[in-house]
């Protein structure tokens, strides 16, 4: 990627919680960059091993 073409980076957010047994869990989320994101068709396929 050409560095001059870098768009604005969506901000990353993290929210940490404690699970019942004391372990930590961190939710990562990102500002929505673009409303027209579509679900790729191949994401729905079942994995085959």
């Amino acid at each position: 990627m050409d560095p001059s073409e870098i768009p604005h980076e969506p901000e990353m957010h993290r929210r940490e919680i404690s699970l019942a047994d004391g372990r930590y869990l961190i939710f990562y989320s990102f500002d929505s960059p673009d409303p027209e994101v579509v679900e790729p068709e191949d994401r729905q396929k079942r994995p085959e091993i």
Partner: protein, 331 residues
């Protein structure tokens, strides 16, 4: 029971972790512990109805930040120490039936940023000397949960495979005043026949010395040591080349391709590793559509790999499945 036992024959530590015998093994889809917890549904490891990417401490760790007292006393010959460290699970997506290869490049870009954050946080722990980010994908490499996820082991020492790489890189730097990996990149870029994919920041190759038929390495073109050295465009280029390589793997035989992904970065013990070079290694176990490459006598017993294929041929085959990446959003 969990402890680190020293192997004096090889100068390496082995972790015992007997609780891992009880870990969840290939549960039905309805009981996947990495899916979101839906209202009224099975309570999973992730207690919310939706998420983007999640990292959490492994329920069945081989290393713990507050480790158990070892179950056995060590000796001068057999040192024993608590298995201190951190084991995390990183869940790539809430979509159970997806895979990293099938995720949009935007999601892989997010994951690169999460990996970077986890590396930065874990390497700051005073008892951590190496942060190892990896993924086991597919039952052929021993996966116990199909939901797309990777793992992070933060070790209290630099593990042996990395020590060997570091030693070779240091020797090369001392002998030539050049980075070994930069030389490998230059040689592969000059020869070109083993290149699988390339962009401004990274090159993917089946290297000259590949041990597995489809062993693929992604090298940073710029001399850097860790994910935290990547600029924003480097993070995006890494996401792009990962998407290209992973999707090409799946196209090879038209099934979800198993692999071990191993991210190699500098240690986190505070020493100077300017001679080392960030890269990612993939070890796919397939040697054809229906045959697995097993680690047999020579590989497991003597440490010498025998590759039944030529890297140049396999690189051409994998390269033929590389497609351009389209960003659907600004990621």
């Amino acid at each position: 029971m969990s402890e680190l036992r020293f192997n004096p024959l090889l100068g390496e530590w082995t972790a015992t972790a007997t609780a891992r015998q009880d870990r969840t093994f290939l549960p039905p889809d309805d009981y996947c512990p990495l899916c979101p917890t839906t209202p009224g549904g099975f309570p999973t490891e992730i207690p919310e109805p939706d998420y983007d990417i999640v990292a959490f401490e492994n329920k069945f760790p081989s290393l713990r930040s507050e480790p158990e007292v070892p179950s056995i006393d060590g000796s001068e010959l057999y040192p024993v120490r608590p298995s201190q460290g951190v084991c995390e699970v990183v869940v790539y997506t809430p979509h159970h039936s997806s895979s990293l290869a099938r995720e949009p490049v935007e999601q892989i870009h997010k994951l690169v940023r999460v990996w970077t954050d986890r590396f930065r946080e874990l390497e700051a722990l005073e008892f951590i000397e190496y942060v190892f980010i990896f993924e086991n994908k597919g039952e052929a490499v021993g996966v116990t949960l199909h939901h797309p996820h990777g793992q992070i082991y933060a070790y209290p020492f630099v593990p042996p495979y990395l020590l060997k790489e570091l030693s070779r890189a240091r020797q090369h730097m001392e002998g030539t005043d050049r980075c070994l990996y930069c030389d490998v990149v230059a040689e592969e870029m000059q020869y070109r026949e083993r290149i699988v994919a390339e962009n401004e920041s990274f090159i993917a190759v089946i290297p000259f010395f590949a041990r597995y038929p489809y062993e693929t390495h992604i090298y940073a073109k710029r001399h850097l040591q860790a994910l935290t050295d990547l600029f924003a465009y480097g993070q995006r280029d890494l996401a792009e080349i990962l998407k290209q390589v992973l999707a090409a793997f799946d196209r090879l035989f038209d099934f979800s391709f198993p692999y071990i992904m191993s991210i190699h970065q500098r240690p986190s013990d505070g020493a100077n590793y300017d001679y080392y070079h960030f890269h990612i290694e993939f070890y796919p176990p397939m040697r054809s559509k229906t045959k697995l490459k097993y680690l047999a006598g020579s590989e497991a017993g003597a440490g010498m790999f025998i590759n039944d294929t030529l890297p140049e041929d396999k690189a051409a085959e994998l390269r033929s499945h590389i497609r351009p990446v389209t960003w659907l959003s600004h990621g």
